[in-house]
């Protein structure tokens, strides 16, 4: 293969005529399905253990405080906005929108993580205390791990964006990592509803 064609494949492209989804997007969609099952399994476990318990949360633990978490939920869900902004920007070849959008996504995701770390610090129960503590930390921790993974990918995208690797025609990686980020946001709705909201009604 000549150098010219080798450079032409730096970013997968998709045919504009058919408008179909690239294999990378299909792969990410299936991966998200199996990841969603992991969260479904854990949330079901939470509901199962809770249904079998006489009190909830167990052993004099207070239900999680609302308040600030509402704000950071809004921040995390809101971070899908700049992601869309970045994706649509690069579709039109707008590098500034891509870089700005990705930077905003990174900041919003990181501030959510920062709040979670603060919340962990404030809580007066541990993961070993009882099944409630175990499930609470496991599920929020797993979600945080997904946020961290997402931030690493967004960080890598950001570097590539500054190097000018994406163009109006070639930006599948942005779309694929965008899918993952939206998933991390959406799954938080379920985690939040189960662990924070429903726990208020002991």
């Amino acid at each position: 293969m000549t150098l010219a064609t080798a450079e032409a494949v730096t970013e997968p492209t998709r045919s504009p005529e058919t408008g179909g989804r690239s294999i990378a997007r299909w792969g990410m969609a299936v991966l998200i399905a199996t990841e969603a099952m992991i969260f479904a399994t854990l949330l079901s476990s939470y509901i199962f253990v809770r249904a079998a318990s006489k009190e909830w949360p167990l052993g004099h633990i207070e239900p999680p405080k609302l308040g600030l978490i509402w704000f950071f939920t809004a921040v995390l869900l809101g971070s899908s906005g700049p992601m869309f902004f970045a994706e649509h920007g690069i579709k039109k070849g707008n590098q500034t929108r891509l870089r700005l959008g990705l930077a905003l996504v990174f900041l919003m995701g990181a501030s959510f993580l920062g709040f979670l770390a603060y919340e962990y610090h404030e809580l007066d129960f541990g993961i070993r205390d009882n099944a409630y503590g175990t499930l609470f930390y496991t599920i929020t921790g797993l979600h945080a791990a997904h946020v961290i993974g997402g931030l690493l990918m967004i960080g890598m995208l950001q570097i590539k964006a500054w190097m000018g690797k994406f163009t109006a025609e070639r930006h599948e990686t942005v779309a694929v990592i965008g899918m993952y980020w939206h998933f991390v946001d959406v799954v938080w709705i379920f985690v939040f509803a189960t662990l924070y909201l429903s726990a208020q009604f002991g």
Binding site: P12, S15, S22, W26, L31, N130, Y132
Partner: protein, 638 residues
């Protein structure tokens, strides 16, 4: 579209240098060729098969006489646990993935899987997780809490040794391989099809792999989560399954069987796919009821998620719940029955040739009929309570998981190895192998039904004389030795075939699907010099010969013709009607998948030996692998 059908100069040499892996070890660790990976999957899985077989024979030696003293009860526990673990996780699942890897891209008429590097990665995870689990044998601390590892027996309190950690960590580790493999199969099936291969022309084997892959995607997370929860309880003192701290042991059973029952179909469905390829070829007739058979494979996939509680009938769940799961367990017999009648109708209207693959297919049908009937029996609550945890259940699941999965796999060896190696297997040894295995199998497992009725419980390491179990146990042990001998005859047929088997040619069985359309056996590195155009469900049996697609000058069709083989490219098609969409560059050799897998392996070893440093080293290597993978995508595509 304008046609540029130029056959580049010095074509043969050009493709050889472009597709050829580096020689020796370098190529071994860096190849992403789906055929090489598929073969490796099969060979590696068979190593585990024979180890698991030896373990079974040692158990039979222990059980052939009352009050025997061949092994201690502790060792016996390890034997029946690891036998199950290896047969499920390290033989049946990966060997089917191996056939899928090799055959599916060929049957779809493409040049590789959708994600070739991911494919290499899933093999490395499989072999490393296998080594991880088998290393417990080397240090004499194999898992000993049953292959299903029920808590509280497997909690730290009652299983203090490292034994069950091999299970918990190994299962989660192996699950990565199955999951990424399934992602690859799904995307490959939807996006990598030759022009004209619409959904209603997919070969049955592809249908079965697709159904299997969807089951994996939705079922495997449950066992991954369950095994990691168990390990968290064991290693870090969390309280998932600890009732003293509000946890629930019953939750473990739900999670395990939510995966465990679909897993039976994850193994059985690809096996039926193999049978559905073999029977039409040797009956010399198209599969009867293609649409019904394909719908049944998908239907089994759906219903398999509604039957898990039939493993838990003895746990005292509410009667309504148990009735529902009992009904679902009966209903799943319907799609299985539809498949069965499709095979019978195919043979009925065809002219059957009694080659070895066909013998294995027929042996499978007889065995599966019995296993299916006992399956319906144990789906009925009162009956299940009578035979629960008895040898009747052992008989039932060996008829299904050994008879109805291992027999098709052996049939598939005789059917597809000529394509994979270029040589026919020895027919006389093959037939001898089949009959020895078939007779041995039934001698070994049929009397277990009766032993179950006589009250012999499963998982017991010995029994006193005078219960009327002695004669049957002797028969079972003789039968299992015969079965083992039969499998060795296949090894002999394979070795003899490799040495002096007749050359297979491109299509030795005069079969119908596209894997037989490659120019040679084994197929060239690029599979098809030009992508075939499919005009029917059985491309090689249609009136018109398979014709080759020609390259266009646009991005969608540029890889159709020989220029695609020269440039190491393959076309990507639209999801449903296989229209041309874009061109995919097939990645070159890369070590990244191996190092990523190795990093994960070190991480799991670190958890096993509870050493933070090793865990961190593993994570760093894995993270470096992931970043490299993401970063230098373009370099590997060169």
């Amino acid at each position: 579209m304008t046609l540029v059908e130029e056959r580049p100069e010095a074509h043969e040499e050009a493709v050889e240098t472009i597709w050829q892996d580096a020689p020796g070890l370098a190529g071994f660790f860096s190849s992403v060729d789906h055929k090489r990976i598929g073969m490796r999957y099969i060979y590696t899985a068979f190593v585990f098969f024979f180890i698991a077989g030896v373990q079974a024979l040692v158990m039979r030696a222990q059980l052939s006489t009352p009050d025997a003293d061949v092994v201690s009860p502790q060792v016996y526990n390890q034997l029946f646990t690891m036998h199950g673990v290896m047969m499920i996780f390290l033989f049946n699942t990966p060997v089917l993935a191996g056939f899928g890897n090799y055959i599916v891209p060929l049957q779809l008429g493409t040049r590789d899987m959708a994600f070739p590097r991911l494919n290499a990665f899933s093999y490395w995870i499989f072999v490393l997780s296998g080594l991880f689990m088998i290393s417990s044998l080397a240090i004499g601390k194999q898992p000993d809490g049953g292959w299903f590892a029920y808590v509280p027996l497997t909690s730290k309190e009652y299983s203090p040794g490292v034994n069950m950690d091999f299970w918990g960590l190994g299962v989660a580790f192996a699950g990565i391989s199955t999951t990424v493999g399934a992602v690859n199969f799904i995307v490959t099936t939807f996006k990598m099809r030759a022009p004209g291969m619409t959904v209603n022309r997919l070969p049955m084997f592809v249908w079965s792999i697709l159904s299997m892959a969807f089951m994996v995607i939705f079922a495997v997370p449950a066992v991954t989560v369950a095994s990691l929860m168990l390990e968290a309880d064991r290693l870090f003192g969390t309280a998932f399954f600890n009732p003293a701290e509000g946890g629930s042991p019953l939750l473990y059973q739900h999670l395990f069987w939510f995966w465990g029952h679909p897993e039976v179909y994850i193994l059985f469905v690809p096996a039926t796919g193999m049978i559905s390829m073999i029977i039409p070829v040797f009956a010399r007739r198209r599969l009867a009821g293609y649409t019904w058979a394909a719908a049944s494979l998908i239907g089994i996939g759906f219903i398999s998620f509604g039957v898990w509680v039939h493993h838990m009938f003895a746990t005292g769940l509410p009667a309504l719940a148990m009735s529902l799961f009992s009904a679902a367990s009966l209903i799943i017999a319907i799609p299985s029955g539809v498949l069965f009648f499709c095979w019978i109708a195919t043979m009925w209207r065809g002219r059957v040739q009694w080659a070895t693959p066909m013998l294995f297919a027929l042996g499978f049908m007889l065995i599966f009929l019995l296993g299916g009937i006992t399956g319906v029996m144990v789906a009925v609550l009162p009956f299940d309570w009578q035979v629960h945890d008895s040898y009747f259940v052992v008989a039932h699941f060996h008829y299904v998981l050994n008879g109805a999965v291992v027999f098709p796999i052996f049939g598939a060896l005789y059917f597809w190895l000529p394509k994979m190696t270029g040589r026919m297997l020895d027919e006389r040894l093959g037939k001898a192998s089949f009959w020895t295995m078939f007779v041995g199998f039934n001698l070994a497992f049929f009397p277990m039904h009766i032993l179950g009725f006589l009250g012999m419980p499963r998982r017991m390491y010995t029994y006193p004389a005078g219960l009327g179990w002695e004669a049957l146990n002797v028969v079972i042990s003789i039968g299992s030795a015969m079965f083992g001998l039969g499998t060795l005859l296949t090894v002999a047929a394979f070795v003899r075939g490799r040495r002096r088997g007749a050359p297979a040619g491109a299509n030795p069985w005069n079969a119908d699907s596209l894997e037989w359309a490659t120019a040679t056996s084994p197929p060239p590195h690029y599979n098809f010099e030009a992508i075939p155009v499919v005009a029917g469900r059985h491309p090689l049996w249609e009136e018109e010969a398979v014709c080759d697609a020609t390259s266009g000058d646009d991005d969608a069709t540029r890889a159709y013709g020989p220029p695609g083989a020269v440039a190491r490219e393959t076309p990507v098609s639209t999801g449903l009607d296989a229209l041309p969409e874009e061109t995919m560059t097939i990645p070159g050799e890369t070590y990244v998948p191996f190092f990523l897998a190795l990093g994960l392996g070190v991480f799991f070893v670190g958890l096993l030996v509870e050493t933070t440093l090793v865990v961190v080293v593993g994570l760093v290597v894995a993270a470096a692998g992931l970043v490299t993978w993401g970063w230098r995508t373009e370099a590997d595509l060169r």
